[in-house]
């Protein structure tokens, strides 16, 4: 469950204040699949960083599972990222010298979970990569790398999975495979927030939020309510 209320983020750029996010509000209930769309500069990356607790808002509030993120210390934020948030990036962001299994295991090591290896294997099995667990990223194809990244994102059973252009570096067929995995995870109950600028990717989502100039242009959930 995500509750965003009047969220703003202002950057200082050369003595000038630039509002990357300008008072946006929305709620995402558990189990929803949301696509956030917008052109570059629309503020969607900033929103992702705030939702992912990599950054703190200038004003407004962000509640994740009823936790007010603004009140947390940097160690507590690290814990929230570790246990409640799973990241999937456009450029995969795997550790190059670690195997698929070790990459998947990493969040469990930071949370100090026991049986980390078998849990990591389970996560790899969910994305269909258990056979290639001991391969290093440079021995895997782009689609396989992104699947490792997804396994890493879901290994701690997070409250939300944040995916930033997850198909951006993949060909369309592989992209579809990745989106199918996301759909499957969503059907199994995962909350998904996907940032993309591709219409056909956004179609997988049940709700689409369009952004422009740091504000919400349209939100399909709100429109259906009207």
């Amino acid at each position: 469950m995500i509750e965003v209320e009047n969220l703003s983020k202002i950057y200082q750029l050369g003595g000038q204040e630039v509002a990357a996010l300008n008072g946006i509000s929305f709620q995402i209930p558990k189990g929803e699949f949301v696509a956030i769309m917008g052109q570059s500069g629309s503020g969607k990356s900033t929103l992702m960083n705030l939702l992912g607790c990599l950054d703190l808002p200038s004003s407004g509030s962000y509640h994740l599972d009823d936790i007010d993120v603004r009140t947390l210390s940097s160690d507590q934020l690290a814990e929230v990222r570790n246990r409640r948030i799973g990241f999937v990036f456009q450029s995969f962001n795997l550790l190059p010298r670690s195997s698929a299994l070790e990459n998947t295991e990493l969040p469990l090591l930071y949370s100090g979970t026991s049986n980390s290896e078998s849990k990591a294997r389970e996560a790899l099995a969910k994305v269909g990569l258990d056979a290639r667990a001991h391969h290093k990223p440079n021995e895997l194809s782009g689609g396989e790398r992104q699947r490792v990244a997804i396994a890493r994102a879901i290994v701690n059973n997070p409250s939300i999975i944040l995916a930033d252009e997850p198909t951006g570096n993949l060909d369309s067929k592989t992209g579809e495979e990745i989106m199918d995995i996301f759909s499957k995870l969503n059907r199994e109950g995962a909350t998904l927030i996907l940032v993309t600028h591709e219409q056909h990717v956004a179609q997988y989502a049940s709700r689409v939020i369009h952004m422009q100039d740091g504000m919400i242009l349209s939100d399909s959930a709100r429109e259906s309510q009207c």
Binding site: N49, G52, L54, D55, S74, D75, A78, E79, R81, N82, R83, F87, F89, N93, L94, L95, R97, S98, L106, P107, L109, Y110, S111, G112, R152, N156
Partner: protein, 402 residues
């Protein structure tokens, strides 16, 4: 995250850049190896000094002719001390247990077809026990033999070995610079020091040495043994005033002799060794410091290179202190491994120095622990800044870093 996991990560990243890791370690290796070998050289010298003190005893005051110079080199007239001075000290200075005047030169020893060039030391009857020589065979010469300048001699262990193949020479006659001398005793081996072998000498009565062998009227030194170490200063003053009177030195005139304690002499020698040790230790410390700066340099490069990795780790939930720990462990690992190799190398160097160079060395456990602790401390000290820098990276920028 467990220390073990961080350790594995560090090891992996060090292995990924083997040459770089080795070059970084090299600074620490050289530093630690020099610390170990320098300290062992100094320690060897110190132990040798201690054993010298033990061999000669510390309760001996030595009177030498001439003026005292800073480096224990006498100058000016060197014929100012006489046997009578020695007897006067024996008769008039209280709280002393023995006096032995000495005159010594190198002499040619001959027995049968065997030759040896050894120190011939003319002394009083008390010299043997005062200088901690134990008798192996026979006896030392007596007061009577000194008074009548008999041609008798006592042989050191090395001389016995060289001229008599270790057989008992007592009763045999030996040629010293051509003259015949009766062997009346031998001394037990004391063991050689690096600069001279106290067993490679023979002892003859001082009077015999002056009149029959060297043809001199003076003595080269007078050893005085004190009863109690606490009286040493008083006795030195007593000797000084007695000799000034005997030499008719008016007030304001400098002594034509100097009085010295053997412990003092050895102390100052030990001081010189210590200064040397400090100097070498200083150089070694500087090289360790340079090694540490090398570690810091490479760690900073490593942090920059792995900015993206750091960003990933922070994004998936690594705390600042875990990032810091990871890089600290890496730098400690470098300095620890470098330190271990350096200790091995240092021990080898000091062994080589003692075997090839003939220098006394002693690798002590303390110096190993010191070098070890120092190298790990350097790993922490010079690793802390890069590690803190890594942990303070902004994850958003770090993830975007190419």
């Amino acid at each position: 995250m467990l220390i073990w996991d961080l350790f594995k990560i560090s090891l992996r990243s060090l292995r990924a850049n083997k040459l770089r890791t080795f070059l970084t370690m090299l600074g620490i290796i050289i530093g630690v190896a020099s610390v170990i070998s320098m300290i062992s050289l100094g320690e060897g010298a110190r132990q040798q000094t201690l054993s010298t003190i033990a061999k000669f005893g510390t309760n001996i005051i030595t009177v030498k002719p001439g003026e005292q110079k800073s480096r224990h080199v006498s100058s000016g007239k060197v014929e100012t001390l006489t046997l009578k001075d020695a007897y006067a000290i024996r008769d008039y200075v209280p709280n002393i247990t023995g006096v032995a005047a000495q005159a010594y030169q190198n002499g040619q020893l001959k027995f049968g077809n065997k030759n040896s060039n050894s120190t011939v030391r003319g002394t009083g009857k008390d010299y043997g026990w005062m200088a901690n020589f134990k008798m192996a065979e026979g006896r030392f010469y007596t007061e009577e033999e000194v008074r009548t300048a008999r041609k008798v001699c006592v042989l050191g262990a090395t001389v016995v070995k060289n001229l008599f193949d270790g057989a008992n020479p007592v009763g045999k006659t030996l040629k010293v610079n051509g003259g015949n001398y009766l062997v009346i005793g031998t001394t037990a081996a004391k063991g050689a020091l690096s600069w001279f072998d106290p067993d490679d000498q023979i002892f003859i009565p001082i009077t015999t040495a002056q009149k029959r062998l060297f043809g001199i009227k003076h003595v080269q030194s007078i050893d005085v043994q004190v009863k109690n170490m606490d009286d040493i200063e008083t006795i030195k003053q007593d000797i000084e005033s007695l000799l000034r009177r005997r030499h008719n030195l008016r007030q304001g005139k400098k002594n034509d002799f100097y009085v010295q304690n053997s412990a003092e002499w050895l102390n100052s020698w030990g001081q010189a060794a210590k200064t040397f040790q400090f100097l070498l230790g200083g150089i070694a410390t500087i090289s360790l410091l340079v090694g540490g700066i090398g570690i810091m340099n490479i760690m900073l490069v490593s942090v920059t290179e792995r900015t993206r990795e750091i960003g990933i780790r922070i994004a998936i939930g690594a705390k600042k202190r875990e990032i810091r720990k990871q890089f600290l462990i890496e730098s400690i690992l470098i300095s620890f491994l470098g330190g271990s190799i350096g200790i091995g190398l240092g021990v080898l160097i000091s062994r080589a120095a003692s075997q090839i160079g003939g220098l006394d060395t002693a690798v002590s456990l303390q110096s190993i622990l010191l070098a070890f602790g120092f190298s790990v401390a350097i790993g922490i000290f010079f690793g802390l800044y890069p590690a803190t820098k890594a942990s303070n990276l902004n994850p958003i920028d770090a993830l975007r870093y190419e």
